[in-house]
């Protein structure tokens, strides 16, 4: 049986460029298609899809680009899912992949309902064995399960950021420009206002290095040191829920159970005890380094290195040492 096509639903950034997570998911689709002996394809649905479609074509051999005027000024995911569902109706998909971030989940859930397809969520790795073999981290990372769709089924898989490294293919893929055809049946959700907030310089989901602060940082002033160390290392600033609840740092930078799940190469935790609610968001980091006054803090059970001491003293010395070695 021919393996069919593994499709990617791409997300775009506010400036119309391709989301980093979509370049990762597209790379994964291509890798799986190679293993399956099938092909990979991507779909971009946006008011101005051209830029993202061109970027996406660097990763997969076929891109369907749909200019959808309604995507400007209305919630994106439901509109995109309807256009994707219409395209897939005349294709033979082997699987559909999306990101596992807010937009990726929304589009995956909507597509599942529209196409009446099963879903596997939050993949930490995907291989191909007659169908997607999806590794998931469940119960706060305490167990890793591998699941697939049942025989004869194809479904939708949401993929966590940073579990695949984006790699371009040569030559670039072909872009099919298509019109958005037919009515949108699902109710539109109007965007009545866009509020810009001072965002972190680097989103934590995309960072190779994260320097994070917890309750021990003590306040907004304390976070200046965290920021300085992050800047010196070229990393992003993260935080625990306690620090976010205290108003020292925005929720967008919260890592953990009700925040984000990250997988940087280095996680430097300053004044973070490593309670389970935080651990679930960062435990798969390549390397974990903690600075903590309490040598018995939970972080000492799973970090690679723990420096026992005052985070401001050690942090200050670290900053000096980093600058000396430059």
């Amino acid at each position: 049986m021919a393996a069919g096509t593994i499709w990617v639903v791409a997300e775009t950034n506010a400036d119309g460029s391709l989301a980093k997570s979509s370049s990762e998911v597209a790379t994964l689709a291509r890798t799986l298609a190679d293993a399956a002996g099938g092909s990979a394809a991507g779909i971009v649905v946006a008011a101005e899809p051209k830029a993202a479609a061109e970027e996406l074509a660097a990763y997969v051999p076929r891109v369907v680009s749909i200019a959808e005027p309604a995507a400007d000024g209305n919630g994106w995911a439901q509109i995109a899912a309807q256009r994707v569902a219409a395209i897939l109706a005349s294709e033979s998909p082997a699987a559909v992949l999306t990101g596992a971030g807010p937009d990726g989940r929304d589009v995956a859930g909507t597509l599942a309902a529209l196409l009446e397809r099963p879903v596997l969520v939050n993949a930490t790795a995907v291989t191909w064995d007659g169908g997607p073999s999806v590794e998931m981290s469940v119960f706060g990372g305490k167990l890793i399960t591998t699941s697939g769709f049942t025989d004869g089924e194809w479904g939708i898989v949401t993929v966590r950021p940073n579990v695949v490294t984006a790699e371009k293919a040569r030559p670039a893929g072909k872009i099919e420009v298509r019109k958005a055809e037919g009515d949108l049946d699902l109710p539109l959700v109007r965007v009545v206002e866009r509020i810009e907030e001072a965002a972190a310089a680097l989103p934590i989901e995309e960072a190779r290095i994260i320097v994070a602060g917890g309750r021990g940082v003590g306040g907004e002033d304390g976070f200046k040191l965290v920021e300085e160390i992050a800047a010196e290392l070229g990393g992003a600033v993260g935080a625990t829920r306690a620090a976010v609840d205290s108003g020292w740092i925005p929720y967008a930078q919260q890592i953990g159970q009700t925040g984000k799940i990250v997988k940087p190469q280095l996680y430097l935790a300053l004044g973070i005890s490593g309670a389970i609610q935080h651990k679930v968001g960062m435990q798969t980091a390549g390397m974990i380094v903690g600075v903590n006054r309490d040598p018995d803090a939970p972080i000492a059970e799973f970090a690679d290195l723990v420096v026992v001491g005052d985070l401001f003293e050690v942090g200050g010395a670290l900053l000096a040492e980093l600058r000396t070695r430059k």
Binding site: F139, I144, A300, V307
Partner: protein
């Protein structure tokens, strides 16, 4: 306002006692359950909304019968009643089955808003809300940091977290909203609330009650299958450094340099 809050009992993340049975299902007897953390945020938002606008909050849960224990906590926080979707036929339900069952139950209820949490701490899926909204043809507003209904106009506004700030979304009601921690800290049940919860009604609905064919939902017709399970790979032993701040800093920098991170 009539608000239905989808709540799921999950293994208590702090207890760390999750175990799977030999057929790959959560051994719920071994895992003390709590209300999923993100569901508590939307429940809190629902309670504040009915305090401001009047109305009722209904908890809707699909789980084994012992879920009445976690639902009592939601009732003690102030929810008015509960509907528990529970049936041996639902054991081993995948996301697809869960969506069918929730949709069938919601078709029987009256509501202006359905609220659901951003995701659950056990599976971290976050796709059920969008699918349920789609099946019910409801406006879907997600990643909510604030929910502001206008009952007179029959509309609701939601501040949705965006990568650069917030998008203010507006739709007619009824609508389904998925909310986040930014909705605000959930309240603790008061003693009065705990007492009152004892006499609040929890209705249990079976698959047949919902008008569903038992052969179309549950583990028997799961469209996903477990291939394997394993413990996460153990991390290397922790190296602990005590000494002067400079020694600590040097240990960190040496490690980063050895891994070519600087």
């Amino acid at each position: 306002m009539r608000i239905v809050v989808l709540t799921k009992p999950v293994p208590d993340p702090a207890a760390a006692a999750e175990r799977l049975t030999s057929d790959g299902r959560l051994d719920r007897a071994a895992s003390p359950a709590v209300i999923n953390g993100n569901d508590e945020y939307v429940l809190e938002a629902a309670l504040k909304l009915v305090e401001a606008h009047g109305g009722e909050v209904t908890l809707l849960t699909m789980a084994p019968p012992n879920a009445v224990e976690t639902m009592r906590k939601g009732l003690a926080m102030g929810a008015h009643r509960g509907v528990l979707l529970s049936d041996p036929a639902l054991t081993g339900s995948d996301q697809w089955s869960t969506i069918q069952v929730l949709v069938a139950a919601l078709r029987e209820l009256e509501y202006d808003l359905i609220l659901a949490g951003f995701d659950t701490s056990d599976g971290v899926g976050g796709v059920v809300g969008a699918a349920v909204a789609t099946k019910l043809r409801l406006p879907y507003l997600s990643s909510a940091a604030r929910i502001e209904p206008n009952p007179d106009a029959g509309t609701v506004r939601v501040r949705r977290i965006s990568p650069t700030g917030f998008d203010v979304l507006e739709s007619p009601m009824p609508a389904l909203i998925v909310g986040t921690q930014l909705l605000g800290e959930p309240r603790y049940p008061s003693l009065k609330g705990i007492m009152a919860a004892r006499s609040k009604e929890i209705v249990t609905r079976s698959v047949v009650d919902l008008g569903l064919d038992a052969g179309t939902v549950g583990g028997g017709v799961s469209r996903t299958r477990l291939i394997g399970q394993q413990k996460p790979p153990a991390r290397a032993a922790t190296h602990v450094v005590r000494g002067t701040p400079e020694e600590g800093a040097k240990a960190i920098v040496d490690l980063l340099a050895s891994r070519r991170l600087i």
